[in-house]
Symmetry: C2
Subunit: 200 residues, 2 copies
DNA sequence: AGACTCATGTAACCAGTTACATGATTGC
DNA sequence: GCAATCATGTAACTGGTTACATGAGTCT
């Protein structure tokens, strides 16, 4: 019985502060969701496994007006295991992007519907970007974060998210200019095609 | 029995030209691998399913000096199913990036080892970028590709790959500057910390 | 009365990875 | 002789998703 990546993800959260399974499920949605996701149905069994391995301890907390909860705390063993894992070589992310798959066959699609597809996708990423930019404002300007503070990790991953979303949006935008000029040119065949240069 | 995303990925390749299972496995590594991956053990059963559904036909080809192969050809039904799928809303890619997970807990790591981690990662992405840039040179400059040509899809996905790798490398580089200046400052405590500005 | 949040679990299923299995030909 | 490429499959397992299950308290 060895430790899974999800296990490390949970330790990553618990090393900052003790949390319940429910809290962890929420945290796996919100700050961690951009780079690792998991549902509660996967989290609860994984926590039991971490406890068995002695990497976390659980304490049942009775609450008034709310159901009891189990608060999980990382052990010294857990911290050591996590710290060791961080600097081990990371497996390359196996990308699986449905939109790119669709883009590869875009020539088969009705251009009007393709435009709709990319407009929707662009908007989704613009919303995500707006959320990241909101989070960014919560960080102090001009005060550089030190790599030995927990906030450095949150900030660094946020920067990656911002860059990713900006690149994605730019790319969607470029596709849209291509599709739109194609549709325009089809409508009025006598004019020459416009030029749209792509740069990230 | 419905069609999986891998099924669409295979149709995406077969709509361009008929291929064997072996060819498809290779194509899933090379041009498609950046956004969708699959091993041959998943591909062969999936092809059988596509055949059952009448979306492809198989023809056994005898070869001299080599084992027989089964050449798969997309049917009209297959083309219709694929074309329809393309413009349906795409599910957002569920990101799973181990390096970002590690970055989130970077404060726990030994800085020297962390530098090694990001140098290795940066190099991997630089190699990937170099490969994409090589492929880019094979496209004609200044002649804009029309969205109704199959090459448009290949080119568009390539652009996304280039942008992604460039952003990733820039980000790795920024992390490295942070880690290195942190290590430097620890060595000579009297000098003030350097400034490194991040921009994508 | 109905929906939402807090709270924790299990079961069935599906997608994807690793390993097992076979066998001919080509190049070093 | 040994590894690599071509060629096609199956089996076992693991990671992850969807659905099932329960129940108290709050808000509209």
């Amino acid at each position: 019985m060895s430790i899974t990546t999800l296990g490390y993800a949970l330790l990553t959260l618990l090393v900052r502060k003790p949390l319940s399974g429910y809290d962890l499920a929420r945290a796996m949605k919100n700050p961690i969701g951009f780079f690792w996701q998991a549902r509660h149905s996967q989290i609860y069994p994984e926590l039991a496994r971490l406890e068995e391995l002695g990497l976390v301890t659980a304490e049942t907390i009775a609450q008034r007006d709310r159901p009891d909860k189990k608060l999980y705390t990382i052990t010294l063993d857990g911290q050591a295991v996590l710290a060791q894992w961080i600097t081990e070589p990371a497996k390359p992310a196996s990308e699986r992007n449905e939109l790119l798959l669709k883009t590869y066959s875009l020539w088969l699609a009705d251009p009007e519907k393709a435009i709709k597809l990319f407009q929707d996708q662009k908007e989704l990423h613009q919303q995500q970007l707006a959320q990241y930019e909101q989070i960014l404002t919560e960080y102090p300007q001009a005060t550089p974060l030190s790599p030995d503070s927990p906030d450095f990790g949150s900030y660094a991953t946020l920067l990656r998210g911002l860059s990713y979303e900006r690149g994605y949006i730019t790319w969607c935008h470029w596709i849209l200019t291509q599709l739109e000029s194609y549709v325009d040119d089809k409508r009025s065949q006598n004019e020459p095609p416009h030029e749209h240069k792509y740069s990230d």
